[in-house]
Symmetry: C2
Subunit: 448 residues, 2 copies
């Protein structure tokens, strides 16, 4: 039992175990998280809405249930944050937009309801870029407030990194879960497209939108996947990882990032994994343009009615996205979906022999400034294809910002990917944390 | 053994059994079909290309193999016709278009290759409307040459009806398998979208194109499905059919057609099926427009490059389709795919409790004249949704043209649908045939 830690710093798995053992009260855990939010969020701005009273009420109920041995499920008493494009009953959904776009849902999005049904306590809503596109949220990076936390799930990434909450939901259309997770030094995972329902989530582009999970470790993320019935404990895999690394993807990163990912690959190989070089398939050359065509067209289809009324109230980024989408012809969209289908086939064939392909999550650590949420180009292929992907923090750069590696796999291996990511996480042994985390897991980290 | 029949009139199952028993030679069967084609096709024009020499060579090989007990598979020695948008090695693919669009493939489309690998003998290519859209083929209806055989798989429907070949492949994007099958008094079936690969088939609209099968009975169609490994003999279902009938679909047919379908439903109920009324879901109102938007947009995406060069060499129907598609915006296409997704969900939920929904295959029997291939609006919902559907001949109208009923089911019930369609076929007891079929299965038929 990690009694030496403040409750807010517990991993979700440790908190779950402590609650089950009667050693931790859900009320104490929620109070610790709320206190942490009160202390840090004025500077970090990860949260747009914190439901203190509601969270305490839920925590008291979970505590009563825990005392009488009635655990609701794998997340009993665990606080979670929800990106503010998901509907949470009783909390406003703003999508980071102007008031005309706000709603007051009376029902949880199914993904939120799943968490709640399994005992999770919804602390509140985390900041998103406007309509989950590029116009930045006010959130700052917990490792350095002068840097972006990434987007669009800016608040979820920052909140989990800053130990305000052990778990958070986000969404990824291009690189909106893995990029902020990488910039904030936490684990970000999205399963294959459609594996977690996107109902009740403000869409950016239906065929690209994924629900994803932020946590501080792979086992914590697995707790959430269990809730979605995508994983059941047991059935561990006892063979070395078969990994691939794509030089073409490395070449798109800054040299120190590429070197860091290569070092991680060497560490995996040193720990027993097979690591091959993999050449990206021919369709990869067309995939980025195809993904952007799909994203803009679908965003235009969704926003067209409100855009006719409120175009001037859209942020510059999402406005230009919708404008570009409205100009695209159907035939171009169809051809883009054909490129995507070809990439799925070609990449699926290449990756069939591997548990995951390793690449940088982003070309560089979190950029300086809040205006730009960073480069999503290395996350986007897996979003466009709908393949599961995960980012693991892998070290701290000379600048003091975290490094990360991305692992991606074929669509039917949501859990297999997590299994091997868990192994990779152990090899990487990353324990650094931002802010005032105390000696047990703070301090500068040597890159792998 | 139906030794009383000319070989060309045998069902595929009877021919298969006779070949297996050594009572029928594949050469005799092919010769009988070729003779039938020579006798009737100058008037009917079901075939654009008949490979007499190649078919005889294949037949001789199949005969040798049969004699030495080496059967290639379930279609050993069975002649088939292939719609002329499928690639067949060594035969031209014209797609019913002008010479600039013709190709001379050296490889079979995978669907054709499947048939060939299982012993089928490819007799030749059957006429298609231009690019499988509306511009008519020269084919005539075997029941009355003044009437259309339907389209776009005009030749496949007519050839199977006229006993030129027991089985044929066609394709359906809107109503291009079931409509000609209904107009020609044969069985036409398409499984769920993607169940049979469309590679090597000239596309009309990728997300709507289905490979389908023409036969004279459900067991004959099942023979082909076995080849595609969608079905394995055995595992019969021993419970009464649960059928639904949709008054809204009946209302779209001419009164005598609606009455005929209702009579069929009563016959099914009389034979033990449960038959409920079913209300079409809300999204059905938008589905036809959505389907047309999808079709035109995807056709435009495929044809755009050749259209830039050869627009004036396109038939009026496909030209206006491509022109309309080129003008459609991406956002409209995306919204159309959203309507389709909603219909799939809503209809899938409604149909989950039923083995099939019964409806007219077309609003009327085959129209007079060859200029118009008929109304696909009652087939198209199942093509747009990608649900499996089958048409069964159910009687002969006062005009002497066949009546038909359509059965449709949810996507994961390709074979369940065929199973219950086989039961319905027995209840209907349709045995009429066009042309000079002799007393054993000709003669006027009383409508159910």
């Amino acid at each position: 039992m990690p009694g030496s830690k403040d409750p807010f710093a517990l991993s979700a798995v440790d908190a779950r175990d402590a609650i089950r053992a009667g050693a931790l009260s859900p009320v104490a855990l929620v109070d610790a998280c709320l206190a942490r939010i009160r202390a840090l969020d004025p500077a970090l701005q990860a949260w747009i809405h914190v439901d203190e009273a509601g969270a305490r009420t839920q925590a008291a109920l979970r505590e009563e249930e825990a005392k009488s041995g009635k655990l609701r499920g794998g997340l009993h008493g665990i606080p979670v944050g929800i990106k503010d494009i998901f509907d949470v009953a009783g909390m406003p959904t703003t999508a980071g937009a102007k008031p005309w776009a706000h709603t007051r849902p009376t029902q949880d999005a199914p993904s939120v309801q799943f968490l709640r049904n399994k005992g999770a306590i919804i602390l509140g809503k985390t900041h998103t870029t406007q309509f989950a596109y590029r116009d930045p949220a006010p959130t700052r990076n917990p490792w350095n407030p002068e840097h972006t936390p990434g987007g669009s799930s800016s608040g979820s990434g920052a909140a989990v990194a800053a130990r305000m909450v052990p778990l958070a939901l986000g969404s990824q259309t291009g690189g909106s879960v893995l990029r902020p997770a990488a910039y904030c030094g936490v684990v970000g995972y999205k399963p294959a497209h459609g594996a977690i329902p996107t109902d009740g989530v403000v869409p950016l582009a239906w065929s690209l939108d994924h629900v994803g999970v932020f946590g501080r470790s792979v086992p914590d993320v697995l707790l959430v996947l269990e809730v979605f019935a995508l994983w059941h404990p047991g059935g561990a895999i006892h063979r070395p990882a078969r990994l691939a690394i794509a030089p073409e993807l490395l070449a798109r990163a800054e040299p120190d990032v590429a070197a860091q990912v290569q070092a991680a690959a060497r560490a995996f190989a040193g720990a027993g994994a097979a690591v091959d070089e993999l050449k990206m398939p021919p369709s990869f050359a067309e995939l980025a343009d195809a993904g952007q065509a799909i994203l803009e067209s679908e965003a235009a289809a969704y926003h067209e009615p409100s855009f006719a009324k409120y175009a001037d109230q859209y942020g510059a980024g999402i406005r230009s996205c919708v404008e570009a989408g409205l100009k695209r012809p159907a035939a171009a969209y169809v051809r883009a979906t054909r490129v995507r289908a070809r990439f799925r086939t070609e990449m699926g064939r290449l990756l069939a022999s591997y548990d995951a392909v390793i690449s940088p999550t982003a070309p560089a650590p979190a950029p300086r400034g809040l205006e730009w949420t960073g480069d999503a180009s290395l996350c986007a292929p897996w979003s466009t294809a709908g393949f599961p992907s995960i980012t693991l923090p892998s070290g701290v750069a000379a600048s003091g910002l975290p490094h990360a590696v991305q692992l991606s796999a074929v669509p039917d291996r949501n859990i297999m990917l997590l299994h091997f990511a868990g192994w990779c996480e152990q090899v990487l042994g990353f324990t650094a944390a931002p802010l005032d985390m105390g000696p047990h897991d703070a301090g500068p980290q040597t890159p792998v």
